[in-house]
């Protein structure tokens, strides 16, 4: 847990790539399948924004290319953005990849750019579950992708998994977990399927996952992953010791980061702000030399402290014992420094616990 406790100033950059070849049925992100002709202009605008922001940045300790499908974009265009940033020595650089687009050459190119972490959207090892999710890759592509990452010498690998897909049995989920573990990743992000309004999944009540089954699946994941040596450090994230994602830790530590591209969020100097949602508007703003910012918020000091507690509650760092009332005692267990963290059952009820958070008395 040394990284969580690390006091050295960290600063992250998130770059949003809003392009996909296909939209998955559960996806509510800012991403489009019909605008790939914009890729060149869009990446050039990202590069220009990176250049403009770079001057005001401290050394960048992590970069995350997320999406969308970042590996739909030629690696050199990601490299152009990277080249503008004042990277700290040993910075963590992650690219989210869709397995059906991964090639050995792509991974070698990433390696050459300094990318040292790949996050693969595996979701499930079971074909009929992938069908329901609207995913198009087959399980062999995952094996080949992992192989390509390793051969390129990219040091860290995360696999994204989704549980709770309609038609997914407990056995299906167990199989997904076992096969993912067999691939030997350093890190696993395990998400419950969340039906967001406006998505094909969210709009069809018959495809809503059942809460009890979701809870069972989460507990199965927790049990299996901890048994083979992964440590949970956030509600949905497990890692081998020392392999936590530094970039994502920033989010839960209320750290500072800059967003690049459309629909990207920034947090600097206690202020949160986000850019316009569509790539067209982003390109237009950058080429006009105006701010792509769409909105912002700045919290009162007390609100900010509550937010810090809400975020910390998600992690294994936990919260001070007096920040929570007794009626959720059974969902908590001791953490380092006399703090309390959520048990596995407690993590499943994190919202219920979070709404009970109050500012602890000053010590």
């Amino acid at each position: 847990m040394t990284v969580l406790d690390c006091a050295s100033p960290a600063f992250g950059v998130y770059c949003h790539i809003p392009f996909c070849t296909h939209r998955c049925d559960y996806c509510a992100f800012a991403t489009w399948t019909d605008r790939n002709h914009l890729i060149g202009d869009y990446m050039a605008s990202c590069r220009r924004q990176a250049r403009e922001l770079a001057g005001g940045m401290p050394p960048v300790t992590s970069v995350f290319f997320g999406g969308g499908t970042p590996n739909l974009v030629p690696p050199s265009l990601l490299g152009d953005v990277l080249a503008e940033l004042p990277l700290a020595r040993g910075a963590e650089i992650t690219v989210e990849c869709n397995p059906d687009l991964v090639t050995p050459e792509q991974m070698q190119a990433y390696r050459a750019l300094g990318v040292n972490r790949i996050s693969l959207g595996v979701q499930s090892a079971v074909p009929h579950v992938l069908d329901v999710l609207g995913r198009r890759h087959d399980p062999q592509m995952v094996t080949a992708s992992v192989d390509a990452v390793r051969r390129a010498g990219i040091g860290q690998l995360n696999l994204d998994l989704i549980y709770g897909t309609p038609t997914e049995s407990l056995a299906d989920w167990q199989r997904t977990l076992v096969e993912a573990i067999d691939l030997g990743p350093d890190h696993l992000s395990v998400y419950g399927l969340t039906p967001e309004p406006g998505t094909p999944l969210g709009d069809d009540p018959s495809r809503r996952p059942d809460d009890d089954e979701m809870a069972d699946k989460y507990l199965i994941a927790d049990e299996l992953l901890s048994r083979v040596g992964y440590e949970i450090y956030e509600i949905s994230n497990w890692a081998r010791p020392g392999a936590q994602c530094r970039h994502n830790l920033l989010y839960w530590q209320q750290g500072s980061y800059a967003g690049i591209g459309c629909a990207a969020h920034s947090h600097r100097g206690g202020r949160r702000f986000w850019s316009v949602r569509t790539p067209e508007r982003f390109i237009a703003a950058i080429s006009a030399g105006t701010s792509p910012m769409a909105g912002s918020e700045e919290l009162e000091p007390d609100e900010r402290r509550v937010e810090a507690l809400q975020l910390a509650l998600r992690t294994s760092v936990g919260v001070p014992a007096d920040a929570l009332p007794d009626d959720v005692e059974h969902l908590l267990e001791p953490a380092a420094g006399g703090r309390l963290k959520l048990t596995a059952r407690g993590r499943l009820l994190a919202n219920e616990v979070a709404v009970r958070l109050g500012l602890p008395s000053e010590q």
Binding site: G259, Q310, L331
Partner: protein, 624 residues
């Protein structure tokens, strides 16, 4: 029912409606009493009363065209929507040298007392019957009321333009039921206007003019009052004796108040102030009164300087029969609800209310109503006119309880009932119910009445096709959707009238609903022993659906005393988490948690269980 025209047993009171010859020589309010006719229209809902009223207004030139509102007399929004009259209105028109006062009567059994007061202002009634449907139970009841009051009845079959009209059949039904010669029955179409002039002529010919002595001390009957926010209480009055003048000091004989007559006037139907109203005249009175309870239907107004010896007969204080708790959905609106009830009572003195506290629903009021429709109307008015969002508990009746130590209690809230062990006897209010139905639905009506613990007292055929069934039924069984059931089982053809018939001791028990072991007072109900289990089963199942899962298992039980008769469990909640919380999710997640926190504030805590208000609202609505 009350007789309105007979002197009280003391014999000191003047008859309310003396049918003495008109003192034609004396000019009163511009007209002699000989040219005055006061009448009411008795009709079932949808039999065309409002259409006929409109037609009369048009024919007499009172309303030029339909320039005002269609169906002028039904002015209250709710009345227009429901097609019924709640508050009595009156209008004065002229026809062939005569002055006609049309006095509208409330159209629902809940308002029987108000009907009797309206009839007390008349010398005759027009019995309006749909020529395709025949006479209905309540019309019949009001007609009997008119006959008891010695009013002249002008029978009319309406809607003769309809292909389904059978005027001959229903004329002979009227003859058989009311003993009026079928040859006297007029046939009209209020819609086309056919026969309406002849009806107006018949009103003048058949209904006697009012009597009254203009020189006697003033006696004027109030038969309706409503509250106007600018003028205060506006009362509809019928002068019986003496003169009611603007500027006089008046004594209200029952309420005891002294008031200055600020304005008297006529409704033509436009409000038209005048100097005075004389015997037989109908109009309005404004006397600076702020509360309708000071000027209730049945009140007698006299002169403060030269008062009458005694009030007119027939005054009664209608007692609420149906009760429920009304609570604001948002507890902060309690003061608003209190103000709204106080204002509403200015207009409807028959509503009663007193503060009540419920563990489940917080602060509210125990309210009493004349009947179920009255309850619904009051609740709708509170929500609509005062912008409140309310929870109503299941309607209850007032039980009479004798305890083991021989105390007599009247209990209108089931949760106030003493423990079962302390009750020696419990009695419930009964009704005599009359149902008129096409004979093909006899079986369906009998089934319904029997399932509601009814016992039949008589069955009479009005014609081979129509039958009147008379039952004795507990009021409590009638206030829970009896009317809706009757309508649906007879495809809307049956009609209902009822009268109160005292109390009867029964095997009644209180069913309590326990949430995680805590009783939820809002769901306590008194049931016949045989109905207790189905009620317990239904309400626990309903609540199990509506109560969200908590952090622990929540048992929902129905109990009689200490004995559990039904049980459901809401299993503990297991998942309430946002899987993803990255840079772009943080603001959204914080807002979501804020909303969730706000949501908790809107929940009522029953012990440790958090219940959203909506769950109570839904469960209580389903219960009705």
């Amino acid at each position: 029912m009350l007789s309105v025209s007979k002197p009280t047993p003391q014999g000191t009171v003047r008859p309310a409606m003396p049918h003495v010859p008109p003192a034609a020589a004396i000019p009163i309010g511009g007209a002699g009493t000989g040219s005055i006719r006061n009448f009411s229209i008795i009709a079932h809902i949808d039999h065309g009363k409002s259409t006929l009223s409109d037609r009369i207004l048009e024919l007499t030139g009172a309303v030029e065209e339909r320039s005002m509102r269609a169906q002028y007399l039904d002015s209250m929004e709710l009345e227009r929507e429901r097609g019924i009259t709640i508050k009595a209105q009156n209008v004065r028109v002229s026809w062939r040298g005569h002055t006609l006062h049309l006095i509208d009567t409330p159209g629902h059994v809940d308002f029987g007392y108000e009907v009797s007061r309206s009839l007390a202002a008349c010398e005759g009634v027009v019995l309006l019957v749909d020529a395709a449907q025949g006479i209905e139970a309540q019309t019949l009841a009001n007609c009997y009321l008119a006959l008891e009051s010695d009013l002249t009845i002008v029978p009319v079959l309406n809607k003769i333009d309809l292909p389904a009209a059978e005027p001959d059949l229903y004329a002979s039904e009227i003859e058989r039921v009311l003993g009026i010669d079928s040859g006297e029955v007029l046939a009209i179409s209020a819609k086309t206007g056919e026969g309406v002039e002849a009806l107006l002529d018949a009103i003048i010919e058949r209904i006697p003019p009012p009597g009254g002595d203009p020189h006697a001390p003033l006696q004027a009957l109030i038969f309706d009052s409503h509250f106007d926010q600018y003028r205060g209480v506006v009362s509809s009055v019928r002068v019986v004796n003496g003169r009611l003048c603007a500027g006089d000091r008046l004594r209200f004989m029952h309420a005891g108040g002294l008031h200055l007559s600020e304005e008297v006037g006529l409704r033509l139907p436009a409000v038209t102030p005048t100097d005075a109203l004389g015997p037989g005249e109908v109009g309005y009175l404004i006397a600076g009164i702020k509360d309708v309870a000071e000027a209730r239907s049945g009140e007698t107004v006299t002169s403060a300087a030269a008062p009458a010896d005694a009030p007119l007969a027939g005054y009664d204080d209608p007692k609420p029969m149906v009760f429920c708790g009304l609570y604001p959905v948002d507890g902060d609106e309690y003061p608003d609800l209190r103000d709204a009830l106080a204002k509403l009572r200015l207009n409807d003195a028959s509503v009663t209310f007193e503060p009540e506290t419920s563990g489940a629903l917080g602060f509210g009021f125990r309210c009493g109503f004349l009947g179920l429709l009255h309850m619904e109307i009051v609740r709708e008015r509170l929500e609509r006119e005062f912008g409140l969002s309310l929870i109503a508990t299941a309607p209850s009746v007032a039980y009479r309880v004798r305890t083991d130590d021989d105390q007599e209690l009247e209990v209108d809230n089931p949760s106030d009932l003493p423990a079962a062990g302390q009750i020696a006897e419990i009695a419930e209010p009964m009704l005599t119910v009359s149902v008129l139905t096409p004979s093909s639905y006899t079986g369906a009506v009998m089934d319904l009445c029997q399932s509601r613990r009814g016992s039949m007292t008589s069955m009479d055929y009005l014609s081979p096709e129509r039958v009147e069934l008379r039952y004795e039924l507990p009021l409590a069984e009638v206030v829970t959707d009896f009317f809706d059931q009757l309508k649906s089982r007879t495809q809307g053809y049956a009609s209902l009238d009822y009268d109160h018939a005292g109390y009867r001791a029964e095997r009644l028990v209180r069913v309590d609903i326990l949430l995680n072991g805590e009783p939820v007072d809002a769901f306590s109900a008194v049931r016949h022993r045989d109905g207790a289990y189905p009620y317990g089963k239904a309400i626990t199942a309903k609540l199990a659906e509506l109560i969200p899962r908590q952090l622990f298992d929540v048992p929902i039980q129905a109990a009689i005393g200490g004995r559990i008769i039904a049980r459901e469990t809401v299993k503990a909640k297991r998942k309430d988490v946002l899987s993803k919380c990255y840079g772009g999710d943080i603001t959204r997640k914080r807002k979501l948690l804020e909303r969730q926190k706000e949501g908790k504030k809107r929940m009522k805590a029953i012990g440790r269980v958090e219940v959203p208000n909506e769950a109570f609202v839904s469960a209580l609505r389903l219960d009705q």
